[in-house]
């Protein structure tokens, strides 16, 4: 794992309320690096979020809205935030009461760092 990837993942996973953080190869849908909380399957999360990101990106392009920057899912127990620009995407799974502003800030930094 490169220093950039390792340090990016370390910062993300230490934000309060973050359960899991992954950096995913968007084309292949496989995890490049991950810090996973209990019960999370890195391969499943990577495959499904990459698929969702690619399809949503295609949808917004078809809607003439440019490329997708990020999206956020609200679930019963928390949030899934996904962001990326090129071949790498960043995925964060966070608790329901996590500080989403701080998480989004760190995700934006992570995306910048990984370009």
């Amino acid at each position: 794992m490169s220093d950039v990837v390792a340090s990016t993942l370390d910062r993300l996973s230490h934000v309060p309320g973050v359960r899991s953080a992954l950096i995913v190869d968007a084309e292949a849908g496989v995890p490049v690096a991950s810090e996973l909380g209990t019960g999370a399957s890195g391969t499943a999360v990577a495959a499904l979020t990459a698929s969702l990101f690619r399809r949503t990106d295609q949808a917004v392009r078809d809607a003439a809205l440019g490329g997708l920057g990020s999206f956020q899912l609200e679930t019963e127990e928390g949030h899934v935030v996904v962001a990326g620009r090129r071949e790498l995407i960043v995925v964060v799974i966070a608790d329901r009461d996590a500080q989403l502003g701080l998480i989004r800030l760190e995700i934006d930094r992570a995306v910048e760092a990984l370009q």
Binding site: V24, D25, A28, V30, T43, L48
Partner: protein, 164 residues
């Protein structure tokens, strides 16, 4: 090598294969055993192609298995080839009855991660079938070709289960 239960297996494997193809967004999929006998298929236009791919899949599995043993790499997990448009995924999974091999081809609508994820789910579904829960008796060499043909006849018979 399977014997008289091929029609029943085709029927049993039809739904798990349909789910795999749908969820993984695969274009073509073929499930064979280590002898190259076809158990299920989706997306192939003719039996000639299926026969070739089945034989090559069995040979690839045997070669990769031998290579992994020789090099001490342990059990091999999958082979992935990414072409410009099409990607190939070939992977074995072990059941108490026999080793099965999935060959699937996908394009930009899917990813390696998705295919691998739903391959694992397919393998779990197949392992849970009672028909794959016990070791099979050996089959004589004389009946080998006949049994090989039986799988192909079944998956390409009109309106028969197991076809894609």
């Amino acid at each position: 090598m399977r014997r008289g239960d091929i029609a029943r297996l085709n029927e049993l494997l039809r739904e798990p294969m349909r789910i795999f193809v749908r969820e993984a967004r695969a274009r073509i999929a073929l499930l064979v055993n280590a002898s190259g006998q076809v158990l299920a298929q989706h997306g192939f236009a003719g039996r000639y192609h299926v026969m070739n791919v089945a034989a090559l899949a069995a040979a690839t599995n045997a070669s990769a298995h031998a290579l992994a043993e020789i090099t001490g790499a342990g059990r091999w997990q999958y082979m992935h080839h990414a072409g410009r448009r099409w990607q190939l995924f070939l992977a074995p999974f072990v059941t108490p009855a026999e080793t099965l091999i999935l060959v699937t081809i996908f394009d930009e609508h899917s990813t390696l991660g998705l295919v691998e994820l739903f391959f694992q789910k397919l393998a779990a579904q197949v392992r849970a079938l009672p028909e794959f829960g016990e070791a099979l008796p050996a089959v004589s060499a004389a009946s080998f070709e006949q049994e090989l043909e039986a799988g192909l006849d079944r998956v390409f018979a009109p309106d028969q289960p197991g076809g894609g």
